[in-house]
């Protein structure tokens, strides 16, 4: 009976983890792909299914690590329901999370390598529209492939400001319009009247995406997933999320616990962004030998995770908490 209980719970937790991870990956990757397709909207290019397949691998690689980490956090609430063997379940979650990131990223990399559909992002320039770049403007009347015809640029600091060019060239990959006559470049994606600008959210969201992007790139763009430093970073990051266990049972008010855990989860990305910031890296290069510098960020995350684990051990017994919350 004990064995079946252990087996049942040992299976239940990873199954839930995988399910949540799958759902989150699909939803987040879907939103990511739609955003990228919107930012790079070009009515004259590939049909939509082709565009989606071209972007899906990029989307998976971008959101997968975050999906796994978020799934680990959500699975902690499943562990809360267990009556016994929670430590085992937490270890299972930790192992599953680490393996999911390492294995998943390896798989995505293989798929990306095999997939010919993967394509660089392209940015469109719609003829007949005015694109604004701060105080400067760009207008083209017609477009033939990557060639823009009858292009007018207004440069605020020139006199006359208008410059007419019969032709300009668009680099769809970078979204830069190059004017051969004046040898100037205009990155259309940065124009505040471009389609890409439609997808810029409020500052809190932009900051969150920026911070998430730093960790996501570190976890998701690894050519060799078995490299020790990469494995260390993945494992300490998952450990950090698992160590939030103490927060999900901090009080007898589950809503408070959940929201606080989410708040601290967000701080993980902020922390990693800070650890990768130029200021911190310069500081580290001054005080830590170059050979050990790559271990600083995982080391800081590991230290905080261990503090959280110790705090969790100092909390009142879990059974007492469970009895009070479940009113048993």
């Amino acid at each position: 009976m004990l064995r079946s209980f252990v087996v049942k719970n040992t299976i239940l937790v990873p199954v839930r983890f995988v399910l949540v991870c799958l759902i989150l990956t699909v939803v987040l990757a879907g939103v990511y792909v739609l955003t990228v397709l919107g930012e790079t909207y070009d009515p004259g290019h590939l049909p939509l299914p082709g565009l989606i397949s071209a972007r899906i691998m990029d989307g998976l690689r971008a959101v997968y690590p975050v999906s796994v980490l978020l799934s680990v956090l959500i699975t902690l609430f499943t562990v809360l329901r267990l009556k016994r063997f929670r430590a085992v379940a937490l270890i299972v979650v930790f192992v599953a999370g680490t393996a999911a990131i390492v294995g998943g990223i390896r798989g995505i990399e293989l798929l990306r390598r095999d997939s010919a559909a993967s394509a660089p992002a392209s940015v469109a320039v719609e003829p007949g529209f005015v694109y604004r770049f701060g105080n400067d403007f760009l207008y083209s009347d017609r477009r033939e492939g990557v060639s823009l015809k009858d292009v007018v640029v207004y440069r605020n600091d020139k006199e006359p400001g208008f410059v007419f060019s019969p032709e300009a060239l668009l680099d769809p990959g970078s979204g830069v319009v190059h004017l051969p006559e004046t040898d100037e470049d205009f990155p259309v994606a940065k124009s505040d009247s471009s389609f890409a600008h439609m997808f810029v959210g409020p500052r809190v969201v932009s900051n969150l995406f920026r911070d998430v992007g730093v960790l996501s790139r570190a976890l998701g763009r690894q050519k060799n997933p078995l490299a020790p430093s990469y494995l260390l970073l993945v494992s300490v990051t998952v450990l950090f999320v698992v160590s939030l266990w103490f927060l999900v049972r901090l009080t007898r008010w589950p809503l408070f616990n959940a929201l606080i855990a989410l708040g601290v989860f967000r701080l993980l990305f902020l922390l990693y962004g800070f650890l990768q910031s130029k200021v911190f890296q310069e500081f580290m290069s001054a005080v830590v030998q170059p050979a050990y510098q790559r271990f600083v960020s995982p080391g800081v995350i590991l230290f905080i995770s261990l503090v959280f684990v110790i705090v969790g051990l100092l909390l009142p017994p879990f059974d007492l908490w469970k009895r009070e919350v479940d009113r048993e």
Binding site: V31, L34, T35, L37, G38, Y41, L48, E126, G128, F129, V130, R132, N135, F137, Y139, D141, K149, D150, V152, Y154, N156, E159, P160, G161, F162, F164, P166, D192, S193, S194, F195, H197, M198, F199, G201, P202, V204, V205, L208, T251, R252, W253, P254, L255, F256, A258, L259, I260, L262, G263, R266, E324, V325, R327
Partner: protein, 579 residues
């Protein structure tokens, strides 16, 4: 009122009051002291706080519901509620109705109050900049000993900032320095702002017959300027009246034929100048005529002919030019900055216009740094010009500025556009139609990125405007879709909060520990994050739908997704246990 409803109202009240206090404090410190006058301090703080509160209404309502149902409402409240023993949704029927009413309030606030508060905030900044400019100009005029002008400016400034003691002192000083025996300073100031009746429109309240008789009378008494004037007025009413035509042409002949050698020298000089101005006006040289009559108005200020034809010349020149000093009076005022748009697009050419700055002042619409480029559809520049100043009258952009006073012998100072390519049209000169109304130009200048605070009606009209003048309309459609999402979000997220709050309710018999209470302010921050992520997700989905399928597809996606989410939200309410 049931205990559940009263507790929910308590949670809503305290959450919104706490948020308002927070936003007020935030606004107190965010006040842009360099850009906004101190007298607008409280107005700005209130407007900013209200705008922030409305913008955060959904996460705040969710916070109140989550806190209310997880902390304040207990099982005992449900058990003792009327209709106990029934389902959870039945027990929270009143809160649900309350949420629906709140949604209506939210929509009204979002569409009416928020744009109003944002406009108020902008107008405080606008008026402050205007006041600063007026005060600077008043001081400059005072320093230049032009006290009547300084008085005019400082009065305008005091209309905005009446309690400014420095300005009041400046006003007193200016009044004391205007010579009492010489009211000319004030007269000139008034005259400059007064609108003289133009020749073709003033009939002095007389009938056609009376005007005709007056013309004939003046002709008999050899006052040919007056005879011509009244005959012209008659012809404005009835151009076919042959008697008036005869009087007009004979008066003109007589004006040309009068021999000034028989007159006294001073009289002859005046007559000769009047005739020159008159003939200039007749031949279409209204600028030359203006300068002649303007000079004469000083020599013979009481001559009615001079006053009449000065007004007529001024009226005519305003159709083809404007005074440069008008620009210096208004261009420092706040206005639209740096806007380029497609002014005209035909099968044969495309015309682009750029304004460095555009001021919609009470005196008119003025532009600074105007540049125009017209190119043919076969890729050749037809016309390119740049003018330092421009004035828009009746959707005509006039690019010729002249000096008010004739400081040079030949026709005064003119500022004409510099032509880089092509030639000015022979018939109209430097006058070009601006097809876009000025109010639409403001929308174009703001661009789609700045429309987040506009109401739905404004957004809908912006779609038509932006599309016509060379800007993408999809961003505005997205803003409309996002605006439509908000009331749905209010209801759906409220229902989710209600059910989640109850499901994850506090198990403490009394209050939670101090640590949890101290950390309570973190909860609305986290909920705000979640709400912003929710809307960012929809922004991506709806933006994609608009770009790849159009606005109708986006609306369909919006409706279907909201129906599904609403069903899930209602289901989440239905499955809650009351035990």
């Amino acid at each position: 009122m049931s205990r559940i409803t009263s507790r929910l109202l308590t949670a809503l009240f305290f959450t919104f009051v706490a948020a308002l206090v927070y936003f007020l404090f935030l606004s107190l410190f965010q006040f842009p002291i360099r850009d906004v006058l101190p007298r607008y301090y409280w107005g700005w703080v209130v407007a900013n706080s209200a705008a922030l509160l409305i913008g955060a209404a959904i996460p705040l309502t969710c916070t109140a519901l989550l806190l209310g149902f997880s902390l304040l409402v207990h099982e005992i409240d449900l058990r003792t509620s009327p209709g106990r023993g029934t389902s959870f949704p039945a027990l929270v029927r009143t809160p649900i109705v309350l949420l629906l009413v709140m949604t209506l309030f939210y929509v009204v606030s979002q569409e009416w109050l928020l744009p109003t508060e944002v406009r108020n905030r902008q107008s405080y900044a606008f008026n402050s900049a205007l006041a600063q400019q007026l005060f600077d100009r008043a001081k400059k005029s005072y320093d230049a000993r032009d006290y009547s002008q300084a008085l005019t400016r400082v009065d305008q400034y005091l209309a905005i900032s009446p309690s400014d003691e420095t300005a009041q002192r400046l006003r007193s000083d200016a009044i004391s320095r205007i010579p009492t025996g010489n009211p000319a300073g004030i007269t000139v100031s008034v005259a400059a702002n007064a609108s003289f009746p133009a020749l073709p429109v003033s009939g002095d309240g007389l009938t056609v017959q009376q005007l005709l008789e007056r013309s004939a009378g003046y002709f008999k008494s050899e006052d040919y300027f007056s005879a011509y004037y009244y005959a012209t007025l008659v012809l404005r009413v009835d151009p076919t009246l042959s008697e008036a035509q005869r009087l007009q042409s004979r008066s003109l002949e007589q004006i040309k034929m009068v021999d000034v050698s028989k007159m006294a020298k001073a009289q002859a000089t005046v007559f000769d100048r009047k005739r020159q101005g008159f003939l200039d006006l007749e031949s279409g040289n209204s600028i030359g005529a203006y300068y002649v009559f303007n000079d004469l108005s000083r020599t013979v200020p009481n001559d009615p002919d001079v006053q009449r034809y000065l007004a007529a010349a001024k009226s005519a020149l305003e159709q083809i030019s404007f005074f440069a000093d008008e620009i210096t009076g208004v261009i420092a005022l706040p206005g639209i900055q740096r806007v380029m748009f497609v002014n005209n697009k035909t099968e044969s050419y495309v015309e682009l216009l750029y304004f460095g700055k555009l001021v919609n002042a009470p005196e008119g619409v003025y532009a600074l740094d105007v540049e125009l480029l017209r190119f043919s559809r076969n890729g050749a520049v037809q016309l390119q010009l740049r003018a330092p100043y421009g004035k828009i009258i009746s959707q005509q952009l006039i690019l010729r500025a002249i000096a008010r006073e004739n400081t040079k012998a030949a026709g005064g100072i003119r500022m004409e556009p510099k032509v880089y390519a092509g030639t000015l049209p022979k018939d109209t000169g430097p006058i070009f139609p601006v097809l876009i109304p000025v109010r639409d130009l403001e929308t174009v200048a703001e661009g789609p990125a700045q429309l987040t605070s506009a109401g739905l009606v404004s957004l809908w009209s912006a779609v038509k405007v932006l599309g016509t003048y060379g800007y993408a309309t999809q961003p505005v459609y997205l803003e409309i879709a996002m605006r439509l999402l908000l009331p749905f979000s209010f209801i759906i997220l409220s229902f989710f909060s209600l059910s989640l709050g109850w499901r994850l309710r506090s198990r403490y018999l009394t209050r939670p520990p101090i640590l949890a209470i101290l950390l309570l302010p973190i909860l609305p921050i986290v909920i705000n994050y979640l709400f912003r992520l929710y809307t960012a997700g929809f922004r991506s989905v709806l933006g994609f739908s608009i770009l790849y399928g159009g606005f109708s597809v986006a609306l369909a996606v919006l409706l279907v997704s909201q129906v599904i989410l609403l069903a899930v939200a209602l289901l989440s309410l239905a499955v809650q246990s009351t035990e």
